[in-house]
């Protein structure tokens, strides 16, 4: 991009087109030199436009001396210029030959924890600044804690103002040790320490000769190579339905952004909360159909069956189902001057779902400086605590630790309409009460849902319309029963006009129903298919297998497995429901 590397515009565009996006947040205390560092990154990467520099030169503010004040490039609003501090989250943009960057620049003041959390919520990486002269202050620890709380996978500790301590190795190393001792308590896995001088540029863009003891990458080099997009979970397919596209009677598409995992045409999917099953028939975009969709793509999914699906529902893979519950434990960052109150009615916005909710209990408040748990009856602005949330309708969610999209929610005050809190649903690792205990309380006030029936049965209901010898059905019934399934055979003799209603009712109650019939098609088969629902209706023809019931029964069980009705492995199905 710079004049030093001449390239044609076509080469530039080809390179630019393949660039990834890295989002990172910066946090530092008032005098850590954060604005100077950002100004340096923007300036040295030539991201600052000439006339913006011209406008800084004529800005009418008394600020620190020096030929050029990098901080003025980033401090935007009038109020801040008067106070000389940044007071809100500001977003900055710059690019290098390798990547595009979005910086969420957040202030370090104690009262602005909420801004730090805001900036961290979308970041792949966080930079924490430490003043070499002051060492690790409570603020530095707070920044690291919030980065960990918001699930940022990579942390960079920039020990700044090294020029003011003669670039001494012992100063740098002592700060690293102090910080590492704290970081160990936070389960932060990837922490890099860099000695820098934002003012003079040491180790910011290129390695400094004045820190021979430091052999790691410069800050910019690290930003260019740290894995991007790590904030997405790749294992569990989650697709919150945002909008139903229904331009005409022939098209029904469910629009949304893939939150995690991936989905391919032909994949089985389960609809929450109804628990109905179907398959993806196509993945539609303006630019043509896709074979596969993954985060963060915004697409529309069409399904094989006509199901009643609306905004707030979630499509998931049947082998990996999220928690479905009205109660969950969460960490809460309080963002409003009016404190959090137990039993007051709030609104939870979680994925595309908005429901009324109460905070039933505050388990404890976290002292962000010491990480100690402190008893609390309310949470004040910028305080962080563990709470029990109860919603009016069930949410479908994962632990935030596992999934940063389906584990996150905001709390809205329905009277003022303000966003008052940010929540992270806690994981099952140590925080979550054991499953049995949860089951006892989760659904106490609601009707039994299909999802609960599946959880109890360990499989999903199906109606198999089977042509062939009844013995095959009974062998299959035994095999399924021994696996712990709820299963029942409807023999030919038992069949009559009412078969459709009986099979549907049994399926409704969660059973696998095996109907023995003379043929796979016909009036009764069609009526049963309609009553039970096409997505849980299968036909099998075993008329050729009269002498080999074992083989046919195995095939039937395998068919149910492959169609997603039976859990193939112990993972997923029913887990957490």
């Amino acid at each position: 991009m710079s004049a030093a590397t001449p390239m044609t515009i076509e080469e530039f565009l080809a390179q630019d087109e393949r660039k990834e996006l890295l989002r990172f947040s910066t946090a530092g205390s008032v005098d850590d030199g954060k604005s100077t560092l950002i100004g340096r990154l923007l300036y040295d990467s030539k991201g600052v436009y000439e006339d913006q520099i011209a406008s800084v030169a004529k800005a009418s503010v008394n600020q620190s001396a020096g030929s050029f004040d990098f901080a003025l490039l980033t401090d935007g609003l009038r109020a801040e210029r008067e106070q000389g501090i940044t007071i809100d989250v500001a977003y900055r943009y710059f690019a290098t030959a390798r990547r595009k960057f979005i910086i969420a620049d957040t202030p370090g003041h104690e009262q602005y924890t909420r801004n730090m959390a805001t900036g961290a919520s979308t970041a792949d990486l966080a930079i924490v600044l430490v003043d070499a002269r002051n060492g690790v202050l409570p603020q530095s620890r707070r920044h690291a804690y919030i980065a960990a709380l918001l699930g940022i996978p990579h942390l960079v500790v920039c020990v700044n103002k090294m020029d003011l301590v003669e670039f001494r190795q012992d100063v740098f190393e002592r700060i690293c040790e102090d910080f590492a001792a704290f970081a160990a308590k936070l389960d932060l896995k990837d922490v890099l320490y860099i000695p820098i001088s934002a003012l003079l540029g040491d180790n910011v863009v290129s390695p400094s000769a004045r820190t021979p003891y430091y052999r790691g990458p410069s800050l910019l080099e690290h930003l260019e190579t740290a894995p991007a997009g790590r904030r997405y979970n790749t294992a569990d397919f989650r697709f919150p339905v945002q909008y139903v596209l229904r331009p005409n009677l022939d098209f029904r598409g469910y629009a949304g952004q893939v939150a995690s995992g991936s989905v391919q045409v032909g994949d089985p999917i389960m609809v929450l909360p109804s628990g109905r099953l179907s398959r993806v028939s196509s993945i539609v975009t303006y630019d043509g159909g896709l074979a596969e969709a993954y985060p963060p793509l915004s697409v529309a999914l069409c399904l094989e069956h006509e199901l009643d699906i609306s905004r707030g529902d979630m499509l998931v893979h049947p082998s990996s189902v999220p928690y479905v519950s009205r109660r969950f434990e969460a960490m809460m960052v309080w963002m409003n001057a009016t404190p959090l109150e137990v039993d007051k009615t709030y609104l939870v916005k979680h994925t595309t779902h908005q429901v009324k909710a109460n905070i039933r209990a505050i388990r404890h408040r976290v002292d962000v400086n010491t990480l100690e748990h402190v008893p609390a009856v309310r949470l004040e602005l910028n305080e962080i605590g563990a709470v029990l949330v109860e919603t009016v309708k069930p949410l479908y969610f994962d632990a935030y630790e596992r999934n940063r999209v389906t584990g996150a929610f905001i709390l809205i005050d329905p009277m003022t309409n303000e966003t008052v809190g940010a929540g992270m649903i806690r994981g099952a690792h140590g925080h979550e009460p054991p499953r049995k205990q949860r089951e006892a309380i989760e659904f106490e006030f609601t009707r039994v849902t299909p999802v609960e029936r599946y959880a109890r049965a360990g499989h999903r209901p199906a109606v198999v319309w089977m042509a062939g010898d009844a013995e095959i059905a009974f062998v299959a019934e035994r095999k399924l029963f021994d696996r712990g399934c709820l299963v029942h055979v409807l023999e030919e003799a038992a069949q009559g006009e009412g078969i459709a209603r009986v099979a549907a009712a049994l399926a409704e109650s969660g059973l696998l129903v095996l109907c023995v019939a003379p043929e796979t098609a016909g009036e009764q088969a069609a009526a049963t298919r309609q009553a039970a629902g096409a997505e849980r209706f299968l036909t099998k023809d075993y008329r050729e297998h009269a002498g080999e019931p074992e083989q046919a029964a195995d095939d039937l069980v395998r068919t149910l497995e492959e169609a997603g009705f039976l859990p193939v492995t112990s993972f997923g199905a029913g887990e957490g429901i």
Binding site: M1, L13, K19, E20, D88, Y91, S298, V405
Partner: protein
Amino acid sequence: MKLDSRTVSHLRALEAESIHIFREVAAEFANPVLLYSVGKDSSTLVRLAQKAFYPGPIPFPLLHIDTSYKFKEMIEFRDRFTAQIGARLIVYKNEKALADGANPIRLGTQKCCGLLKTRGLLDGLAAGGYDAAFGGARREEEKSRAKERVYSFRDKFGQWDPKNQRPELWNLYNGRIDRGETIRVFPLSNWTEIDIWHYIHLEQIPVVPLYFAKEREMIVRGNLLIPVEQDFVRLPGEKPQWVMCRMRSIGCSPCSGAIRSEADTVPKIIEEMIHARRSERENRVIDYDEEGSMEIKKREGYF
């Protein structure tokens, strides 16, 4: 940089984010509108809206606040483009101020903008009863916009309070408002100017021909090239000249400066940007009125 098949380029990531925002607003608001300014950012905005609701139509109208000082080429482009894509276009003018003779020379650029753009916009929004209005503003454009939310809350008078904006985390937008309040929505918040042009290039999005260089009749005043579309911009003694030039940003003709340029294709425009690196707003006379002037206008309801 190695890219595996599931790596998403920055433009696709930005596109997906913008589409998500469009769909959220369409789902949660009763009566949204897209503020269509005819410029390149608006063209991009419209394409993203098409993508968000494909194969359906864009489920809200496009609103153009016409100050009557827009370039002829803009109006022609506007009418052709919106007809082609089958969008519903609504044009609003502050007829009362125009009848009273509002123009930038008589009132000064600040007052003129206040009446024809800001007032026109607020009245146009009120006339349609819109509860959400999409705009093409980008955070990178100008310092005061770096902190703008994606959902920017406006009170009953359309005012913006920089100290009282809702925290915005993850992609969870709070669209709760009371009667009379509105939300301005900025789906392009995280796009840079180069991103916009690059996307226009890749997607072959139609833009107003004024962006491309050709010989145009201009008044040369110091470093500024001022189009002669409206007679009154001419000072005594000034004579128009033919200059090879183009517009870097497009607004009202009396207040839009042009730059000397040979760039007559999108890649050439991008190339010119990379070399020149001048902010697009440099040539908008209005931003020089006062240090921090954009912030004052925003507080009053200007985009």
